[in-house]
């Protein structure tokens, strides 16, 4: 994907075109800066420390999911079940804290402590992802349909887990040793909420894995040209399995964070979150056809959506106009994405 350029025969034409392409690649970042500038000018309460921390905190929920989604979309697939996985993860964490794990054959109820619950719920996310991966690789179901089915299954399971009711008051019981869950959502380190640190961690890991490891290269290869990747000896099935599991894990993390913030597990949590995650990925410059995109681009995309939402709320824009504006921004992003593909093609032809 990266081509070193020979220093000979650099016509000004090629360099100017490639500057354009380069700036174009940065369009999400430039858009973010422009939006921040516009909102700062329009309302004094935007560029304040409290508001920025809230903004990034709200973005974090979407960004964590979007990092996982980036991997899936990079292989040319899609995962529509992330929203339901968020809900399921939230409900399971609520169940484990509130009711514990009932083992009727041993006649005991097991209450796990909070780190164990986090680990178990992340494993649950990986399991849901593995289920998706199985459908896509083993049974050759189109990712759209497979994950659509999982969307309903996971949502139904989430609602079944407590007959549609909420698990309230997840502070835990000191006697059972499962206190400390709300810290995940409400705690701060160095004055910055833990949610934001988790987002930074996940984004850094994602960026490293995607950009600097062989696994990441293989993901890009599978997305770029699956047949060629297979013929070059890459285990395509394994890569696809892995990316869906990563996506499921990120969604489970988001579920944990939301349940912790609300100190309650709500079965409707995460409804239509998948659309926000996909929007963040697309805004960040990842192509839906696969093979092109970066994790930090997804972070920028999530921030753009976050800034837009937060700014429009502060401006007091009517709710329905917010939807129209957000939709138009996403459409613009996809159109520009297509333009970028064509510009890059032109540049490649020019050099060839």
């Amino acid at each position: 994907m990266t081509t070193a350029l020979s220093s000979s025969a650099e016509s000004t034409g090629v360099s100017r075109l490639s500057i354009g392409v380069f700036l174009f690649r940065l369009r999400a970042f430039i858009a973010l800066l422009i939006l921040i500038g516009i909102f700062t000018l329009l309302t004094p309460s935007f560029f304040t420390r409290e508001n920025l921390i809230i903004l990034v905190g709200q973005t974090a929920i979407n960004a964590i999911m979007a990092v996982g989604m980036t991997f899936v979309i990079l292989t040319g697939g899609i995962d529509l079940s992330v929203g339901s996985t968020v809900g399921l993860a939230a409900m399971v964490s609520g169940l484990l804290i509130d009711r514990g794990l009932e083992l009727p054959m041993f006649g005991v109820v097991v209450y796990f402590n909070v780190p164990a619950i986090i680990f178990l719920v992340l494993c649950l996310g990986i399991l849901v992802g593995a289920f998706n991966g199985l459908l896509v690789t083993r049974f050759n179901v189109a990712p759209f349909i497979a994950t659509l089915g999982t969307l309903y299954v996971a949502r139904g399971l989430a609602q079944l887990s407590n007959e549609g009711a909420t698990f309230p008051n997840l502070v835990g019981n000191p006697e059972l040793g499962n206190t400390g869950f709300p810290i995940l959502g409400a705690g701060t380190i160095l004055g910055i909420p833990i949610v934001i640190w988790i987002m930074v961690l996940f984004t850094a890991l994602g960026w490293f894995v995607a950009g600097k490891t062989p696994f990441g290269r293989q993901v890009y290869a599978v997305g770029g040209n699956e047949r060629a990747a297979e013929l070059s000896g890459i285990n395509v099935q394994r890569i696809k399995m892995a990316v869906y599991m990563i996506c499921g894990m990120c969604a489970a993390m988001t579920g944990l964070v939301t349940a912790s913030q609300l100190v309650a597990a709500h079965p409707a949590t995460g409804e239509s979150y998948e659309l926000n995650a996909i929007a963040a990925v697309v805004l960040g410059g990842t192509s839906l056809a696969g093979g092109r995109g970066t994790v930090w681009g997804t972070l920028i995309g999530a921030l753009v959506i976050g800034v837009l939402t937060n700014g429009l709320v502060l401006l007091g824009v009517q709710e329905f106009w917010k939807k129209v504006i957000t939709g138009l921004v996403i459409i613009l992003a996809v159109v520009l994405d297509q333009l970028q593909a064509r510009l890059q093609q032109r540049l490649a032809l020019k050099r060839g």
Partner: protein, 366 residues
């Protein structure tokens, strides 16, 4: 190198459009993954360095975000106090009236009002509470998104020193919100059920539509209905389903139910939007004479009652409730307390063909 006439013109356009003002950027060439400068002018050296650093965009974006958070000034309190009004989607005229009445009253009392919509998503509601806290609001008026899921948000507001006044829906906790103003849903439901009994002639089969399970009001109203209707042995409930307060869901569910029970005589609904959906389904199936009773007192149903379609509804005095909430918020901001108890309820009024002539938007003219 291949050059087609097409490419040439595109390239020319590119050059004209983007680069007509950057003559000094010549000699700097950027490729996808690596930067190979051919440095000719000092200007391009600086630009090259900037562009190279921009290539490490992940670090730059982190730096931008972190530094923004650190150097940004803290929020200042404005002269006019802000009242944040957090409600469900105004697609339902009930919530729209609720928000409009609160906003109007707040402005009339000299406050700034900000209406925020949570769409029945508890996480979104939590974030909107965060926004209100960051804006250092004087008070929050809220119609909440879940009796259990909203407790954390109200607690957060309380510890930030912002009083919350809940309207229309309660939460399952006392001592966190300053006031919980609700209509007396149980009393209203019994009113509606008694009218339903009268219209049904105390016998026949009927269907019940229940509201969203996570909303306490759904359960309270259902209980009120059942407490009255179960006393009449000739009234048989053939189906009870939740339509989640949604008009389309009620339409579809009732369409299915009347296939199974074509002789149903009456339908009692947890709210007006579901009643409208249900009536549309019944009318489409040629059963427009089925007795339908709703709850809320929305203008659509009032019109329907005037047209003789839906038979009755129970009016929630939501305008009065909203205004009371804002008035109590105003008193709390000025005096630090209100002399009212936390849980307050106002009685509902029955609306049927007799008094619908006096109906105004969620109110009754005397």
């Amino acid at each position: 190198m291949c050059r087609s006439p097409q490419l040439n013109s595109t390239f020319t356009r590119c050059r004209l459009a983007v680069f007509c003002s950057v003559k000094t950027l010549t000699e700097v060439d950027i490729s996808f993954g690596s930067i190979l400068p051919i440095v000719k002018f000092p200007m391009s050296k600086l630009i090259f360095r900037t562009i190279k650093s921009l290539n490490h965009c992940f670090l730059v974006s982190c730096f931008v975000v972190v530094s923004a958070m650190l150097i940004a000034p803290t929020a200042f309190a404005q002269e006019k106090k802000l009242i944040a009004i957090i409600v469900p989607s105004p697609e339902n005229p009930f919530f729209k009236t609720e928000a409009d009445a609160a906003e109007a009253k707040a402005k009339a009392l000299g406050y700034d009002a900000l209406v925020l919509v949570h769409n029945d998503d508890a996480v979104k509601q939590d974030q909107l509470f965060d926004t209100a806290i960051a804006r250092k609001a004087g008070a929050i008026i809220c119609d909440n998104a879940g009796a259990d899921a909203s407790i954390a948000a109200v607690k957060k507001a309380k510890s930030a020193g912002i009083p919350t006044f809940l309207v229309d829906r309660e939460i399952n906790a006392t001592g966190v919100a300053v006031a919980q103003l609700v209509s007396n849903n149980y009393q209203g439901a019994t009113l509606g059920a008694q009218e339903f009994v009268k219209l049904m002639g105390e016998k026949g089969s009927y269907v019940e539509l229940i509201g969203k399970e996570t909303d306490t009001n759904a359960g309270v109203r259902s209980r009120g209905y059942n407490d009255v209707l179960s006393q009449y042995p000739d009234l048989k409930k053939v189906a009870a389903q939740s339509a989640n307060w949604s008009q389309t869901e009620a339409f579809q569910k009732v369409q299915t139910i009347i296939q199974q029970f074509p002789d149903v005589k009456g339908l009692i609904s947890g709210n007006d939007t579901m009643a409208l959906g249900a009536y549309a389904a019944l009318k489409a199936a040629g059963k427009g004479n089925v007795i339908v009773v709703g709850f809320d007192g929305s203008p659509d149903v009032a019109q329907s009652i005037k047209d003789g379609e839906i038979k009755a509804t129970v009016l929630q005095p939501i305008v009065k409730l909203s205004e009371m909430a804002v008035e109590q918020a105003d008193q709390y901001i000025k005096d630090g307390k209100t002399d009212k108890p936390e849980k307050q309820s106002i009685d509902c009024i029955l609306i049927n063909s007799d008094n619908v002539g006096k109906y105004t938007m969620f109110g009754l003219k005397d």
